[in-house]
Amino acid sequence: MDLLSLFPEWVLVHGPAAIVVLPLMVGALIALSPSEKLSWATTWFVTGLSGLMSLGLLLQVISHGPIAYAMGGWKPPLGIAYSVDGLNAPILLLISVIAFVCTVYALPSVIAEVEPEKRSPFYAAFLLSFAGLMGMVVTADAFNVCVFLEVSSISTYALVAMGSSRDRRALPSSFNYLIMGSIGATFFVIGIGFLYMQTGTLNMMDMARVLQDIGPGDRVVQLAFAFIVIGLGLKLAMFPLHTWLPTAYAYAPSFFTAFLAATATKAALYLLLRFTFTVFDPSWHFISNALMVIIAGLGILGMLAASLQAIFQSDIRRVLAFSSVAQVGYILLGIGMATTLGLTAGYLHILNHAIMKGALFLAVGAFWYRFGITKVSDMRGLGTTMPWTMAGFTVAGLSLIGVPGTVGFVSKLALAQAAAENGWWWAIGVIVLSSVLAIVYVGRMIEQAYFQPVPKINDKYIKRNEAPLTMLIPLWTLALASVAFGIDSHWPTSLAQGAAQVLGDGPILLVRETMPAIPAIPSTGGH
């Protein structure tokens, strides 16, 4: 409570807009910046400020309930509304904190990987991508979601392609991502179009209200749901639609890979939750079927197939990327149960996976930074040559496996409990099997690092060459967070329970104010 009083009143009122507008405007501005240090410092400052504002909003939501913001003073459902509630406030905080932590890391990493004249635009594009993700999560207007989805996607394509100064394979992978991402976004837009056709509104809550009147029998609504699930499925790398992800993660600049892996799919997952549970009604037969068969089913397929694929990759980044697809599978399994426990577990895994996967990719970036290592077989002796980085990698890797005392264990346990409560005993078997596969692919890397001899150059062992502090601090922040929240998981679990409660309440019914025949000019001066 005390913490909340530290935030100025203005932030709590205008925060929902400010967290999007600030990075957007500053992003435009620093494209001009002559000095990359200045761009970096500004980016760092802006992401930090957004993080603080998100924290303020989260505390406000916890203590005083949802916040609504009417863009431009136009009252919903006419205007674009931004809203922060228990479901999206933690995601906002997650995205901005990860961005803040990763930006610290960007300073050495971007210098090593991006050409000098592209560095300021790099930070500008990063801020745009960040703003897009925040906007996607904070907005309560269905079409606004599409716009921010594209803002973040388009800047992401450019950022992935910037990895081409390190490895030219970044270009075709970015192109592949562009094609798949655009198809996904367009499917989503089509779905929104069908919804608009039936409901005549774009405000999500109003949409939910009209959809309740229309009911589940309407074919257009069913079609809209299908388009939205497939569109978002492409964006969140649902198992058979994940083909863009491994290459995009592997060849993007390492700082951005860490940010992307930790946040991009999470924002899309949030949208899936938001649409399935609060816009549509999960009790409708076609939605409950889709949740059980498609979302949970594909989640399970992804957990197994992507984990298997991860085992056979030779590139570290591809191993982790396939593991990301598998982890999305866990989250989808939790969502697919559609019970309070299942949703809590899925949501918890969204937060936890972001922390551990962020740490892992940061460590991989550091390996490349010092030794140019991208292959699992080149990790020999890293435990000796880069002890701190490798230790951070190991902590996060153990968390990925789900060793007790780490966040991975907390969310897997929650997921198993939810499955047991639901009577899905086979799902527990799948979780255990997938974790065993995770032991194989993570263990393979850890084994290389600690139990293989340090390679020799000219008959001399390679000297210890630790990553710089600017890389170690963000890495260890996330690695320690994954242990801290693993030991005391009270806070993230309570956030996840809050989110599950919002989802469990189902469509929020908003009583529509009586509207004039045409949208009246919202004037303070009456006629």
Binding site: M25, A28, A31, G72, P522, G525
Partner: protein
């Protein structure tokens, strides 16, 4: 070798100048008209169809036409690429700044009513949209030009030196 290429280029230039004289004269007449039409579409956007997006594209097309006829280098002399980056940012800032101004005046983001809260006929909306549309015009114009310059100033086909030779065996 170098001189020969230069001569060939000069020849080509000379020929094109002769051939395209009608094009050049017509363009000189048309370009200002297109630009003015762009501005018309922009300012008419207050009352009818139009606005910053369309106007920006029309305005940019006048410069693109200039570049197509007189060459990219000439166009870059008229509108230097360094300006474009500045204008692009400026447009974004005008748009965003309008919102920040409404914040400073105590309203929601982009709540234009704050510009003239006492107006009986929503003059604030008018001013707000005017400012925002200027921002849109600047950004759209400069972005379209930036895209055109970026593609136009790329060299012809270059095969990379290090591209491996691709024989049929490799493909299989």
């Amino acid at each position: 070798m170098k001189r020969a290429r230069k001569r060939a280029r000069a020849n080509k230039m000379g020929r094109s100048e002769n051939q395209h004289i009608i094009l050049r004269v017509v363009a000189k007449l048309l370009i200002p008209l297109i630009a003015v039409y762009g501005l018309y579409v922009h300012f008419h956007g207050d009352y009818g169809p139009g606005g910053g997006f369309q106007a920006g594209v029309i305005f940019a097309s006048s410069i693109i036409l200039y570049a197509l006829i007189f060459g990219l280098d000439e166009a870059k002399r008229v509108v230097p690429p360094s300006w474009i980056r500045v204008i692009m940012t400026l447009g974004g800032l005008v748009f965003g700044g309008t919102g920040v101004a409404t914040w400073l005046l105590g309203g929601e983001y982009l709540n234009y009513t704050m510009f003239a809260p006492d107006s009986t006929h929503a003059a604030g909306q008018h001013w707000g949209i005017f400012a925002v549309e200027i921002g849109v015009l600047l950004t759209v114009t400069s972005v379209i030009l930036a895209i055109f310059y970026a593609f136009g100033s790329r060299g012809g086909s270059r095969r990379p030196n290090n591209a491996p030779n691709l024989s049929d065996e490799d493909k299989s």
